[in-house]
Amino acid sequence: MAGISACGVHVPRMRLPLSLIHSPEQRPSSREKAVAGADEDSITMAVAAAGDCLGGYERAVVDHLYLVSTSSYFAEKSAAAIVAKALGLRPDVLTVDYGGSLRGAAAALRAAVSAVASGSAGTVLVVASDTRTAEPYSAMESDLGDAAVALLVEADAPLRLEGDSAVNRQAFDVWRDDGTATLRSWEDRFVVRHGCIEPVTAAWEQLQSASALTPASVRFVACHAPDVRSHRELAGQLGFRGEQVIEPLFGRVGNCGSAFVPLLLAQALERAQPGDRVLTAFAGDGAHLMSWVLERPLERTPRLSEQLQRRIVMRSYRQYLQCRGLDPGQRSGASSDGISATVSYRDQDADIGFVGARCCDCGTEQYPPTRVCYRCFARDRFEPVALARRTGTLLSYSMDYFFPAPNPPVVAGVCALGGSARAYLQLADYAGETLQTGLPVEFVFRRIHHSGGRPAYFWKSRLIAGAAAPALEPGVTTDA
């Protein structure tokens, strides 16, 4: 039966130590939250998770893309279409945006399974991605985080959907209205009781009565909850104990909205063995429980642990506020005209798709695509060449302290794109490593700016892990 055959995750590398929220001093703190960098949002994180998920797959296999997010940059405009373009999916892929609901990922997975079971799609990519922003300094802030998870749904999949059960219970527990940057919530005990525990328990009872499931028959439970205490309480109330309960990552990632339960599912899949049953418990104006059975090992185990280890620890709370656009002294850039919509429309294959051109006559690869070849001067003899999944080389770099950024310097330089093509790119997730030319880089999709109130998405280079020597300070101060 239909189910999940691959799982990709993206936990942004930025971590805000929770101690920095109320104290300017750096204190050794084991508790932190994952924060999208200033150049990340739910759209770019979705691309990263989907890229991780599709690692070994031909992009052409994907028939539908369902993007789930409560925090798209846009209230009106399809984020899924941007993600599809960045991933290089076929132009006839059905793109669907699931918005608004914290349990949207369950609905999207349910729809994906139905689509492949009915034969209307062979492969569906479901991506849940959220950045969650609380009022600065609020109690809720410490419990929220940012992440994205992508799940590939196919007809004959290793992780089979066995059954599901949903209840709807509207409540003003946690919500955000159009035009407000930060989440609002009612009193925490109401949020825990009627936003989560009551509906999840009801859905679990409903699922048990419709099937032979018992707590003992479940190996792992991946369970939504607003905070660590309520998570413990809910798991206990559902009848799960000890190792059955997937650790909810509060103090490491935080509740990352629609991606939260999928992220815990990824964690379960790192450990699950064939025959294991995994229960996913989504909540948000009701609850949706899904029961999965791992029929055989996934071709590739999710790489969540690896991503939890790669961290860039923020130095100040202000840096976090700037990443969120919440710092009062910040230049928004929204007042300028921004990039012409017609220019970005024409350039989208190159800019969002990161597609270059290869000369059919002399083989020279070029980026951006041009009409006349740099080397043999042939006109219009090009075929498109996808560059995003290549590894490249840093050919030059400078560290710009002039460009406004939350954490200067902005590192930029020319990279070789795995062939003769080259591009001037910013270096993403730079953490002060010692730079030199020739370092290998990979390419990541990021939001360059939002001048004119419109996000401009483009690719950046990123040092391949372990390639450069880590340094406490960038090379800027030592060179003379």
Binding site: S336, V343, Y367, Y374, M399, V414, A421, R422, I448
Partner: protein, 384 residues
């Protein structure tokens, strides 16, 4: 076929406004200051009658050709605005020279100007026109060769600092310069970082300025003045964008190399270091000047460090470079810069450069490079 303009055109008058943050001067004020100095220098008393055409260069004009026509009340004359990145002023000069060589005109005015400080931004603006380009600053563009060059040839920020120190010292000797301040290598290395490897003193400031030249057909040059300055070679070359050029080597700028080759051919230069007596080169950033030493063939590739250390490019050295302090001391009102360099070289070749005079200077070169950078302009002038 590539014709040469050698000895077909002469500079018979030169003028230059004060460069700086000219808050109380408009472009009109600066254009008038520069042009009337050039008129007086050439002996032009009735420009409306004596000039045949005007070529002006400005990268940030508010009204373009009308800015010059209205300022100087030059009407019923052909006036053309030329733009070519940082080589804008140099290209305006080239177009004027070509118009004379083509036989159209006898006497042509060249005006280079820009009024950057009316734009309301403290530094160069951050370019935001396409997605791919972002974020980009001129410092980032011109730093493109830094990492690779330093790794390959062992030079570093100290050599760059010595260039800044030299140009600042020269600038104190130029009456019309913006910055008249002696600095030390320590000042340069300790200044705040703008874009590695460029600290504050590695970067040229933005400023306002205008410069003007009167050009004459060779046959009539001596009717204007006894010792005109002769055009020996002029070249403008475009190179591929170094950010996307699949064959860029990150060790120097292609357009300078090709423009130098073309210009040396016209001027009959085979050993630039020995034959050229004085040079004004584009020092928008200190590294630009360092790379230009090599791109112009003043020294071998990789030898700039050694040449800088032996002080050959200082005043009193074998080949003084940026005798008036360069962009470092004058700032860079883009359209004016190339013409300002020609003004300085004209003074040098006439022996009128005062405390910064290079004794006996007979051949002078000026050079600009701009864009990503992609555009280079070079002019070689001679006394004979």
């Amino acid at each position: 076929m590539r014709e040469s303009l050698r000895d077909r055109v002469a500079i018979v008058g030169a003028g230059c406004s004060s460069f700086g943050e000219n808050w109380t001067q408009s472009s009109e004020d600066m254009i008038v200051e520069a042009a009337f100095e050039a008129y007086a220098d050439a002996g032009i008393e009735s420009p409306q009658k004596q000039l045949d055409a005007v070529f002006c260069g400005a990268l940030y004009p508010s009204r373009g050709t009308a800015e010059v026509a209205e300022s100087l009340k030059l009407f019923d004359l052909p006036i053309t605005l030329v733009q070519n990145y940082c080589a804008t002023g140099t290209d305006a000069f080239r177009c004027a020279a070509m118009s004379i060589a083509a036989g159209l005109y006898d006497t042509v005015l060249v005006v280079g100007f820009d009024k950057l400080k009316d734009r309301g931004v403290a530094g160069p603006s951050v370019t935001m026109t396409t997605t791919r380009g972002l974020p980009m600053t001129p410092a980032g563009w011109f730093a493109l060769c830094a990492a690779k060059y330093f790794e390959t040839y062992g030079a570093g920020r100290l050599e760059l600092a010595k260039i800044a120190v030299k140009n600042h010292a020269n600038g104190t000797l130029a009456p019309k310069s913006m910055l008249k301040k002696i600095i030390t290598t320590d000042d340069v290395l300790k200044a705040r970082m703008i874009s590695w490897p460029f600290g504050l003193y590695d970067c040229a400031a933005q400023s306002d300025g205008a410069a003007a030249l009167v050009l004459s057909r060779a046959e009539q040059a001596r009717s204007w003045r006894r010792e005109p300055v002769w055009l020996k070679g002029v070249s403008v070359m475009l190179g591929p964008n170094p950010q996307s050029d699949p064959d860029f080597d990150f060790l120097g700028w292609k357009p300078t190399r090709s423009a130098a080759q073309d210009c040396y051919r016209q001027a009959g230069i085979s050993d630039p270091f020995r034959q050229i007596d004085v040079a004004q080169v584009h020092d928008c950033f200190t590294l630009t000047e360092l790379l230009t030493y090599e791109d112009l063939g003043f020294c071998a590739r990789g030898a700039a460090k050694e040449f800088i250390d032996s002080e050959v490019f200082r005043l009193g050295g074998e080949l003084p470079v940026n005798t008036d302090g360069g962009l470092k001391s004058f700032g860079h009102p883009t359209g004016a810069t190339g013409v300002r360099m020609l003004y300085e070289n004209t003074l040098q070749l006439r022996g009128e450069a005062g405390a910064r005079q290079v004794p006996g200077a007979a051949i002078a070169l000026s050079h600009n490079i701009g864009g990503a950078p992609q555009a280079c302009g070079i002019v070689i002038l001679g006394r004979e």
